[in-house]
Amino acid sequence: MTDKILNDLTIQAATVNGSGSQTANLVLTRAIFHMGIPVAPKNVFPSNIEGLPTWYQLRVTPQGHMARRDQVDILVAFNVATWRQDLQTVRPGGVVVHEEAFSTADARTDVTYYPVPFSKLAKSKIQNDTLRKQLANMIYVGVVAGLLGIPWEALDHAVKRQFLSKPKAVQVNLDAIKVGFDYWQDNFSKQDPYRLEPMTGVVDGKVLVEGNQAAALGALMGGVTVAAWYPITPSSSLCENLIAYSDRFRVDPKTGEKRIAIVQAEDELAALGMAIGAGWAGARAMTSTSGPGISLMAEFAGLAYYAEVPVVIFDIQRIGPSTGLPTRTSQADVGFAYTLSHGDTKHLVLLPGTVEECYEFARDAFDYADRFQTPVFVLSDLDLGMNLWMTPEFMYPDKPFDRGKVLSKADLERLGGEWARYRDVDGDGVPYRTLPGTDHPAAGYFTRGSGHDEHARYTESAQAYAANMDRLSHKFETARHALPGPVIDESTHSPIGLIAFGSTHAAVVEARQALSVGHRSVDYLRVRALPLSAQIVEFVSRHERVYVVEQNRDGQIYDLIRLALPPELVDRLRSIRHYDGQPIPADAIIEPLLESEAVPV
């Protein structure tokens, strides 16, 4: 037996979609996390209700790496359909826990097999007929717990945590885990190097949160009062969480009054229309969708841009239209969302790179929308939105809402009714607005698209149109400086820099660590908003070569940065792209970077 491998492994559970395996996966994750060991789970699931293969990849590292890794140490094989294929993914020396009935004839000899009669155990040991199918998955948790040395106390905690709202389910699940745990103890002796041992200090104060949970909480704390949405993977859970949190925190227990309106719309087009109508009327309004919905929202996004209506649009990115890998992750909506709609439109886009930022940016997006009277896009993705991420607890907001430039009745009285909806009074391009319902004869105006003068009156005057377009550009420049700036780490003093955004961050962190071990340290700039900050050009100017890493085919942010660079800096920029639908692993950065660096300049 080789040396023991401690707290550094990836478990892959290969199951059948709809079999209830996710609960078991989460219990295992929580149990290991409870041992003080960092976890990074990735759910790889099909567009399907039940029957197709699904994989749960649980990565455990002492350093707390959060990115996916393309290497399986421990396979738990439940799905006969993918059994042989799954077996090929295990690293040499790895472990295979499998249903005993699966044949190992002519199978690999460089892995350790632990055959378990899961079906038979479920039939003979689980008394509950209705829950047998679900509980059968828990048996695997028990086996893995035995295999890796997860203490019973951690399993007990995890089950109780998982069934917080269903305490009755705790005992039957623990019983099922015990079946697997006992089977391990009674039938196997340890043949492999993998071990888990409790750690201290690494995960203290940390919690496990999905990006869509974080964004829903952010929206709630940001004061959202109208949300309209249409179900779509991987965005649905954002509004579903918002509904759940609102039922808990936005309902007046005495009157039943609900301080939020959430509408499931007939399509994404209507969803954005509702949010814009609400934003126009003074609500903090949002919609949440994914790429296909963003496509449908194009016309309305342009109207909100020109009519200058605040609204927040979440795009949880995924792949493709129609049946185009809807359950696989992507960062390919950036370019499209940035200029969504026909004509001269450009939007404010926030790019959260962690679940903590999903919370913060969701919360602050409402301030930006109100302050700049324009749509604000928050671009997350399936990896960030639907997977659990280890994160420090979120901070309670430390400032009040910024409702922007809204003229009240008193303001209008003070001004003697003299105001113009689209006039740049303060020199920042941001005009003042009034809300419908303001009891002053000068408050009302007629909102429409681009053809209006300062007073919002219809005009086709060339001069008025161009002047308004210039003011909108000026407003955009004001916003450029107000949005979250890039996070820059130049501590390595390397001539090489990396630029990334969104969920790619996790892989960059890991790649930088690995590169520094190999004495190829690199600096890092993480883009957090569009329009691009001026600091990005400066970062490029301070480095000889800068690699832009992103999860789309064409290098969309790479292109945007190139456009922003002065000609003499353009050649410094290189592009690393990952676009197979799986979250980017660190290797997908390290390998092309080293390959490129090996070529003499």
Binding site: L208, T225, A270, G273, M274, A278, G437, F446, R448, R457
Partner: protein, 340 residues
């Protein structure tokens, strides 16, 4: 109330808007005038009025009445979504949507139907001329089968009847009228505004430029010859007393949500406006007979509107501050700990 002021002390001029840019003689201009009269006589506070529209000749008209009110000229066919959002954001607003037949029955049919399903509290007026005026005379989806374009092209498709569609969806207020029939349009607009829920008012409104010729079933002369009103409509606002000076059995009196009354004086066969199947029958029989049936077709004052059903506050949501929208620090800490 003086003779020239309404009950909130405003003159009729306070309900005027910018000068119309539609063609002289356009039915829509008549509807605009009916709107001004109805809003003035109802004493609607201009600042509470939200005028919503999509795209088309009809959708320009909100600029032509109550200039001091807020208005939103949205994108084509999407007025219902904007109206839904605005209504939820501020229930104090009186939502008045103006749409056309293209805006409603073609590009906006989906939103029209879903708004009705939700019973959003608003008045939805369709200025229905069977043609696309701004793009120069194409058929719209409400054009009757066999009706003709100005240059002789014949419509070969079945029409979509917005009233029939609304009825099948359980709309709580369905009426049809004719732009030239102010006596009927004005009380119907008032009743639609007093009604709490989606009120659909399909007003056939001739396009003098593209659809007022022989062979059209939306021309002034055709409608004058074929309009069949099912009842004389009158409206008694909540701030006036109901005078009972009609013969028993000749008038139906329905009380609306705000205490107003709509009085329907029987003309021919008695029509019960609370009977949805009867309303459908009246539409179908009128269509078979080649008549344009007008009047209040259906009214259900018992349905709950969306915002009420959702327990949305009566206060504008804008007025809710941090202490009402954010969870407390203690709740937040507790909530975060649940993710451990």
């Amino acid at each position: 109330m003086s003779a020239t002021m309404n009950h909130i002390g405003l003159a009729r001029d306070a309900y005027k808007g910018a000068a119309t840019t539609l063609c002289a003689g356009c039915g829509h201009n008549s509807i605009t005038n009916h709107m001004i009269k109805a809003l003035y006589e109802l004493g609607v506070e201009p600042h509470r009025l939200a005028k919503m529209s999509g795209i088309g000749c009809s959708s320009k008209t909100p600029a032509y009445f109550v200039e001091t009110a807020h208005g939103f000229n949205g994108v084509h066919g999407r007025m219902p979504a904007l109206t839904t959002g605005a209504q939820l954001a501020n229930r104090q607003l009186i939502m008045l949507g103006v749409s056309g037949d293209g805006d409603t029955a073609s590009i906006g049919l989906g939103q029209f139907m879903h708004m009705i399903r939700r019973n959003i509290d608003c008045t939805y007026i369709i200025e229905d001329n069977g043609t696309y005026g701004l793009t120069k005379g194409q058929f719209s989806a409400t054009a009757d089968l066999g009706s003709m374009q100005k240059k002789g092209a014949v419509n070969t498709f079945q029409p979509i009847d917005p009233c029939a569609v609304a009825l099948t969806l359980g709309c709580s207020f369905v009426a049809r009228s004719f732009s030239g029939d102010g006596k009927q349009v004005v009380p119907l607009i008032k009743a639609a505004i007093a009604h709490r829920g989606t009120a659909i008012l399909d007003i056939v409104s001739p396009c003098v430029t593209f659809n007022d010729h022989d062979g059209s079933t939306k021309s002034y002369s055709w409608i004058k010859d074929h309009e069949e009103s099912i009842a004389d409509v009158s409206f008694i606002p909540f701030f006036e007393e109901v005078h009972v000076d009609y013969e028993p059995g000749t008038v139906r009196d329905v009380e609306l949500h705000d205490g107003s009354h709509i009085l329907l004086k029987k003309l021919g066969e008695d029509h019960d406006p609370t009977d949805r199947r009867a309303a459908m029958k009246v539409i179908e029989e009128g269509r078979a007979a080649g008549h344009l049936v007008t009047g209040l077709l259906y009214l259900d004052t018992t349905m709950t509107d969306f915002a009420t059903a959702e327990h949305i506050p009566d206060r504008p949501l804008m007025d809710l501050g941090e202490n009402e929208l954010r969870m407390t620090k203690d709740d937040f800490a507790q909530f975060m700990s649940e993710f451990a």
